[in-house]
Structures are given as structure tokens and as C-alpha cells.
Symmetry: C2
Subunit: 565 residues, 2 copies
């Protein structure tokens, strides 16, 4: 019997931060070695962070990454860890074309083994890989003490053919995959189904190692796992946390032994946790210690404030109530209650005097006057951001954004919008889940996410309630004119969200939507709103391209890029 | 001798506006037929507009485009124009994969001939084609009265091999190319050099037909041309205007006869015109009749206002002077002079009372107080935009944007930023050029651009001056604190712009920049500013992805998209 111990190092990296990523790799390899691992596998593009977008095109960055990989191999050997096979992702350079490559290398015996280049380069949805990388064209089998370990990177297993099909012919003992697979509702099962198929194809167990953490507008959920050749789930790491798990491969056994299998969170918890981790990592990687946001008493800002408190603690949340002449007393009370529940700073900045000053000069009416209120609030939120060094967070939800039911440069200001991908009906569901968790004892910061590995219960909530029930249950209103209700301008959210899901996510056209059973008035209303909003949403300054390299579409640079040339 | 007359229909289309694009095609074919053309060639993706980005992925859109092409073929035949070969671009569908294709079709005899699919799909810089289209793999030779016409689409001629290499073996009489090639300084010569090479490769004359007009953040410059097999330039259409030119192919002659060759504008005129056309078309395609902007008396807002007047006339420009306690009298006078010169509306909205109201509540200091002034101005500009239905234009230049020397949600507000791709030193050069043109008699709107085909002298300028000389010559200042100068925070622009060009456009790293001869302090200052600004620039709300299709990176939708499903 040949036993090989694999360590699954599910870590959170930062794009461009070669030093910190390399340091983390070192620490995890040491821990893995202490527990007897012979192979340590890390996520896709571990050393560089992922996705690095057009940063890959800078030769200075590729050179720095190459130097750092060599430094790491040398350090590991100097530490007496040269015997281990440390499988990390990085950026390489195609010698023929000088184009970057998405590369897996093996650090062993003090040397960087020039390894395997990703074959299938996704170029859809959030992915731009074909834009920046040239595809690899050779499969690779790694010999570890006589065991044959085939490797693949992320998209390589999502497409038929290519390296996995080649490996199927090569009698491998295990398929080792490193991934940078962003979170999406329901994706845990999709990935598992896929892995089961690939394990059967190569007739060997398969390791699926995924990245964890927020990077710009993506959240990677981890949830790494191992399946046996027959599809049995042998091991699963937790979601949303860094983790080091182990898998012992017995190359002589017909079937492998199962280890520990982390439970899947329920769907509401999963989404809430993804949003919190996205915000927490966006702040950490951009060096923000606190957030500021407007608290209206409505459900959107209440949920976002709750998420912020769970991410960085209530003491680092600055809630600003900015009542106008149209704000109800109920709204002001709800905002104050929320702030008290989460232990946030709470300031009241009435906008009426400011509105009056502007109106003396501008004398606006209708929508222009409504937008003015929202923009005064935007100025106040940004003033807190600038003067206290806080991240302004925007509180818009997906239904609102889809329909353009928000004010550009007004309530839409901020560097991160935690719930921008949640439809309004989902906002209510998630809020109810968080209150249920509070009632069950989960305090502030009690979530299992990166940076909170102990799984603390969190700071207790005063009455076991987080989000005021009134914020969840009252009829939504922008409160920009007397008696205003969202339903004056929009279909009821229960209906609206269904149409939006079909129109936006399923690309249904007008005829399809009618065939889906929606009535003509609703369909035409929603389509008109969305078309108009698509256009409003992109009202941030565009400009003509004149030189070889303008800003904007010419370069896709990562945001939380820590690389310094 | 066989003579075939080609009409080069250099038109301006609108993304998604199938009706209007088809109508324009009809009008140009009629005009071409009246002048004896047998073949009429239009730009890349004529019918759909270009670039259509992810709109191509919507099946409803592809179906509508297909129906419109058929309608057009039928209408042309009904009009007695069925004998012509009308070569238009559209979106097709790959029958095997159901993916969209970038397609050239020939309308003839009342039928849409399913033609040629673009082979090379650019996926760099501003291009995303490999993301959305599947590549064609067959070359095509069209038989027109016995003459063999090879075809290619844009990138097909920029890459070696592929369809042009195939056509080189096929003894063609002419290479016909349709293009959607965005403007860039110096590209006229690059395109000509390329065409000369390809004409030699296929040993035949080559037609290069380019799109014209602004589309979102791109400007297409037209400048279509014909070169002979030996590289002689035979024909050139004007830049920045719609045009219908002709080329008579003599298939029996060794060399072709030259026609009319439009002169190239000088480099400053070219850039100025590109910026004006970009703004003019952005307004037209988004249905804006006028613009509003802050007029500070500085050169950036003066140049942008001049461009706006040239685009839509001074009467449609609303200049707003928003002096603070730090604004000099000179600045106010310069702003007023500029507005008078271009015949713009001119309002004065002092921000001091508003600033005082905010400060009573917020009591800000330092940069936060400076940003507050810029944001109050942003609120005022957007109030004009909302209440009068005007496009807010942002006045930032590339040096300023690169260094983050502007206020997000402040002076950076607006839907279009005409000079965002001009370095500050270029802003001065271009402004001087415009004044020279004014002195030489070019009034407001006197540029040769789409929608102004007559090449009018324009509305006379009162004293033959457009931009106040003082705005060009004084030391730049943001005037956000007493005595402030740009040079307090930034290196002198002459030096700064040189470093920016190497760092941003040539991707030079720190070592390269030192080797370029820049001193260490300057290099470190500029790199720090740019790194910080990259990050600031992208402070518009990002958010985590939760569902299969979020907003943001998941979808790349065109802005001026007129398609209604």
C-alpha cells in the first residue's frame, strides 16, 4: 500500500500582493508538513491573486512573479521543506508569443518546476481569460513517489476534451485541480456533479481545491472537496473560510477512505455570508477599517448595515440618518433602533436646511427636486468617507438598480454595494434569516468567514434582534415626496422580481415574457424601466478614445491590486 | 475591358437601431444606383451598429436583425435595385454552436445571401469580439459580372494568414473589406501601410471601407480608401463625415485610375474633430439636445465648452460659473468671456452660501472640505441636467484623471467627458489650434463632421477668438484653497505628461522609467499618484456576485442601444 497525504490549502489571496501571498503559502506549507503532507495544493494563480485581468500584460509584473516563485522554492528548501511537492498557481510567459499564461508550477527540491498551462480560457460572464492568456496545449502528469498525479486548472474541467480527456488515457492515480471559481447560488452542487463526471472519466479520485475570499466584485466561496472515482464525496472544506484539510490517497485501494465533510449552509445563510465576506475582503484589501452609510429606516440600508457590522464590528460602522421633511417618524425610529442593535455610531444630519439653501438658488421641481435630496445625502456620506477615511457603502438592491429606481451620484454613491445582486424579495428573505440567526444566538461577527476562523458566537445583540421588524414589514418608500410608495412607480416587488429574473437572467424577450404568462402592461412597464436604467447606470463619464491607450475599456485592471512596480 | 463601379458608403450607424440603420442603407443604395454603381459596400455590422457587445448574445436581437436584412433585400428589389450587390454587415448565428457571428451578407435579387463570417476576432484593448462571436472558417469570393471579388472583415486583414492568405491563392480581381476601426492618433498611416501590404499579397486593388461616427466611448473616423495592387492610393474619403465615393475597377487593366483623394487634417485638427464628433454622436444617439457644464475659467472647461458649441451650437450649451470664496476675479471673467464668445447660456451660481450651510453641519477640514466644494458643484450641474434634460459633460483631462487630481462625484460627474483621453499639454495645443482656426474664420460648428456635411464656415465668432487666451496661459489651479496651484501636488505638466505616456501607454515599470532618464523623485511621485488614482477611479459601486447574472462585469451592454425587444 502506498499512501500519499495531500494537503488542501484553501486560502484567500490578494491580487498583485506577491509578498503577502508568498508569506501565506509558506505558513500553510509549514502547517501541512507538520501534519505529514507530501503534496500541498493551492488555488489557481495563488501567488499573483486571481483574477489579475490586464495586470498580466505588464512584463514587470510577470518578472516579479517569477522571482517570487523562485524565492519561495529556495526558502522552502532552506526550511527543510524541499521534499514536499508544493503546487501553486502563478502567471507564466509563453516563450514563443511572449503572451502571459495561467500556469501551475510545482515547487520541489528548491526549484520551480515549469509545470502546466491552463488549456481552456473562459471568456464569458465575469471571465476575460482568453483576452490576456495564451492557452496551454500539453497535459501533465506529476510523479509523486511513484504515484501518477494528473493536473488541471479550473475551466479545464468544465469543458469536454482537452487535458482531462488526455489524462483519461494515462492511467493516473489522482486528478488534482486548482480553481478560482466565483460564488453563485446553487454552484456547490453543480461543481460536485461536474467533479463526479470527471473522476469517472479519468477513473481516479479527484481533488477540487478552490480559492476563498472577496476580490473586487467577486466572492470565491472555497468549499474545496475530494470525490472518489465512483463519485463518493470523501472530503469537503467549509465555505467562506480559509482552511487546511487533508486527503490520504491509497494508490493500491479500489476505493478511498472518507474524511471530514463540512455541512452546506442553508441557501439564505450562504448568500448572506457571501455578501459579508465580499464586503469584509474589499475593505481589508483596500485598507479600510470602517464604513459609512445612510440609514433611512428602510430595509435595504438596514440589511447592509447589519452585513457591515458582521464584517467589521458595529463599532466600525457609521450610520447617518439624513431625514428630510418627508421622512416619517417611524423611519427615523427604525434607523435609530437598527444602529443601537448593531452598536453602530449614529449621527443625525437633517437635509432640510441644505435642501432649502439649494432651492433658494435653483428652485427645482418634480424629479429634479427629488434627486436633489438624494444627492445632498450623497455629499454627506462622502464627507464622512473623506474626513474619517471610511468606505462609503451603497445600499441599492438589484430590483431597484435594474429599474433605475435610484439617483446617480445620490443614493448610488459608494465604493461597494453589498446587496446589488439581490432582488428586493431576496433582501426581505435574507433579512428574516439574519434575525432568525440572531434569535438563535448568533451575535455580531458570528459568521464563519475568512478572518473569523474561530466561529465565535459574536458580540451579543441587546435583545436578540438585529434588523427592526418594522423595516422588513412596512411598504417600501423612497420618502422623497409626501406619501410616496415604491409601488407608485414600480409593479409590486413579488411580480417585478419574477419578470426581472426572466428578462435579465434568462434573456427572455417580449414574446417570451408574454408566453411566460406575465401580462402585457407589466411586461412593457418592466422592459421600459430596465432599458432606461441600463442607460442611466452607465452615465458615469465615458469619453472618446484618442490615443493608443485611453482609460476605460482599453485596460481592465484589478481594483485591489497591491502590486508596486 | 470590364468596368465595375463600387460605391463606398461610409455611414454612421447606431447600435441596436435596426430601423434607422436599414433606412440609411436604403437611402445610400438609391444614391449609389443613381450614380451607376453595381456594388455598394457598407461598414462592418452596418445593420446592427458596432460594437454591439453582449447584445449579440440575445437571441431576440439576432432574430430581429435577420428579419430586417430580409426586409431590406425585399425592399431593394421592389425598388428596382435587385441587380445591385449590396454588401452589408450584420450579426449571424453559427448553426452548430448557436453562437453569434460577425457576418458579411450580400443583398441581391431580393435575397439575403448568407455570406462571409469574420475569421479573426479581436480580444484586446477596446475589443471583446472573441467573447461574443464564434469565428468563421471559410473565405469567400463573390462573382460580380465575371469579376472575382474577395472579402474580409476588419481584423482579418490585421492578422497574417487566415482568409487573406487563402484569397492570395485565388486570383481575385479586388479585395473588398468592411471595417469598424476606431480612431486613434496616427492610425490613418498605419491602416494605409497595412492595406498596401495586403493588396500586394492578393495582387489586386483593395477597398478599405470604414465606419464613421461616435458610438459610446469610441469614435470611428471613416477615411475609407482604395489602394492599387502596387500600393498606389487611388481614392480616399474624408474623415469624420458620412460619405459616398466611387471606385471604377477595370479588371483588364494592369493599373487602376486614381479618383479623388481627401486631404488628411493636421494632427491637432484631427484630435479636436474626433472629440467633437464623439460628443455630438453621443448626444444624438442618446437624444440629448444640449449640454451643461461648470465653467471655471480654466482651460479644461473652456476647451470642452468650445467643443460642445462646435458639436451642437452655442445656444445649446449651458455654462455655469460656480465661484467659491477662493475663485479669482480673473477666473470669473475668463469664464464669462468664453461663454460670450461661443454664444452659450451663462449662469452664475455661487457655492459659498451652500458651502457655509454644509459646513455648519459638517465642519470639514483639508481635502474633505476641498472635495465638498467640488461636490456642491456636481449637485448643481446635475440639477441643470435633470431639470432641463441636458447632458452633463465632465471636463477632466487625462493627466488629471491619471493622477486622481479630481473629485469623485464632484467635478467628475457627467455622462460624457470629451477630453478624458487628452493629456494636459495636448489640451493646451488643441486649444491653440482651435483659436488659430477661429482667427482664420472658422466659426462655431464649422467643422467637417457627420451631420454637418456642407462644411459650413459656422456661426461667426464675435472677435474671431474662441477660447480666452488667459485660460490657456495662466498657471492651472483647482482654486479649492487660497493660492492653490496644480504644481503644489503634481510635477509640472510638461514633465508629468512624458512620464504618464511611458508608464501608462508603454507599460514601463520603475526601472524602465529610470532608464528613460526620469529622475527618481518624479518617477516615484507619478507612480504613487497613478496607482492611487486607478483605485479611486473605480470607486463606483462594485458589489458581490450572487446570482447567475449580476450587473457589472457579467454583461457588457452597449450604451446607446436603441434595440427594443
Amino acid at each position: 500500500m502506498t499512501d500519499i497525504r495531500f494537503a488542501l490549502a484553501q486560502i484567500d489571496t490578494c491580487v498583485g500582493d506577491l509578498d503577502s501571498n508568498a508569506g501565506k503559502i509558506m505558513r500553510y506549507v509549514r502547517r501541512a508538513a507538520q501534519q505529514g503532507a507530501q503534496v500541498v495544493v493551492f488555488p489557481e494563480m495563488t501567488l499573483t491573486g486571481y483574477p489579475i485581468e490586464d495586470l498580466a500584460l505588464r512584463a514587470t509584473f510577470r518578472k516579479a512573479a517569477w522571482n517570487k516563485a523562485n524565492w519561495l522554492a529556495t526558502e522552502l528548501a532552506a526550511d527543510g521543506l524541499g521534499d514536499l511537492f508544493v503546487v501553486v498557481g502563478t502567471v507564466g510567459t509563453d516563450r514563443e508569443t511572449s503572451k502571459p499564461r495561467n500556469r501551475l508550477v510545482v515547487l520541489h527540491d528548491g526549484v520551480v518546476w515549469d509545470g502546466y498551462d491552463k488549456h481552456f480560457l473562459p471568456n464569458y460572464g465575469v471571465f476575460d481569460e482568453f483576452r490576456i492568456f495564451s492557452p496551454g496545449n500539453k497535459s501533465m502528469v506529476l510523479d509523486v513517489n511513484g504515484a501518477r498525479i494528473g493536473v488541471a486548472i479550473c475551466e479545464d474541467i468544465w469543458q469536454d476534451g482537452g487535458p482531462v480527456a488526455e489524462l483519461a488515457e494515462q492511467h493516473i492515480d489522482l486528478l488534482l485541480t486548482m480553481n478560482g471559481s466565483p460564488y453563485e447560488e446553487g454552484k456547490t452542487d453543480t461543481r460536485l456533479d461536474l467533479a463526479v463526471r470527471r473522476a469517472a472519466e479519468v477513473n481516479a479520485p479527484m481533488v477540487y481545491l478552490n480559492q476563498v475570499g472577496g476580490q473586487d466584485d467577486l466572492v470565491f466561496d472555497g468549499g474545496s472537496f475530494v470525490v472518489d472515482a465512483d463519485g463518493t464525496l470523501l472530503e469537503r472544506s467549509p465555505m467562506f473560510m480559509e482552511d487546511l484539510s487533508f486527503f490520504d490517497l491509497d494508490t493500491t485501494a479500489e476505493r478511498q477512505k472518507a474524511g471530514s465533510i463540512a455541512a452546506k449552509p442553508d441557501p439564505d445563510e450562504e448568500v448572506y455570508t457571501a455578501c459579508v465576506l465580499g464586503l469584509k475582503d474589499y475593505m481589508a484589501k483596500n485598507h479600510f477599517k470602517g464604513v459609512c452609510l445612510g440609514l433611512s429606516g428602510g430595509i435595504d440600508s438596514a440589511l447592509v448595515a447589519a452585513m457591515a457590522a458582521d464584517a467589521v464590528g458595529g463599532a466600525n460602522v457609521y450610520g447617518i440618518s439624513m431625514p428630510s421633511m418627508y421622512s416619517s417618524d417611524g423611519s427615523k425610529d427604525d434607523a435609530a433602533d437598527l444602529a443601537k442593535n448593531i452598536g453602530a455610531h449614529y449621527d443625525i444630519q437633517p437635509i432640510e436646511p441644505l435642501f432649502v439653501s439649494f432651492q433658494k438658488q435653483l428652485d427645482l421641481e418634480g424629479v429634479a427636486a427629488e434627486n436633489l435630496q438624494a444627492r445632498i445625502r450623497g455629499v454627506i456620506v462622502m464627507a464622512y468617507s473623506n474626513s474619517k477615511g471610511l468606505l462609503a457603502v451603497a445600499t441599492g438592491n438589484k430590483s431597484e438598480l435594474a429599474c433605475g429606481y435610484s439617483t446617480i451620484y445620490g443614493d448610488a454613491v459608494g465604493g461597494y454595494a453589498p446587496i446589488k445582486d439581490l432582488l428586493k424579495t431576496r433582501v426581505w428573505e435574507i433579512s428574516r434569516w439574519r434575525n432568525k440567526a440572531a434569535a438563535a444566538g448568533m451575535g455580531i461577527g458570528g459568521l464563519h468567514v475568512v478572518g473569523n476562523e474561530q466561529g465565535l458566537a459574536g458580540t451579543p445583540l441587546p435583545d436578540g434582534v438585529m434588523i427592526p421588524v418594522n423595516s422588513i414589514e412596512k411598504a417600501p418608500s423612497a420618502e422623497l415626496r409626501p406619501g410616496q410608495k415604491d409601488s407608485d412607480s414600480l409593479p409590486e416587488y413579488e411580480l417585478l422580481d419574477q419578470v426581472l429574473a426572466m428578462y435579465i437572467e434568462h434573456a427572455h424577450g417580449r414574446e417570451d415574457l408574454l408566453a411566460d404568462g406575465f401580462d402585457e402592461t407589466t411586461v412593457d412597464t418592466v422592459m421600459r424601466l430596465v432599458d432606461r436604467a441600463e442607460w442611466k447606470r452607465r452615465q458615469y463619464p465615458l469619453g472618446p478614445k484618442v490615443t493608443a491607450l485611453a482609460f476605460g475599456r482599453d485596460r481592465r485592471l484589478p481594483i485591489t491590486n497591491a502590486f508596486r512596480e
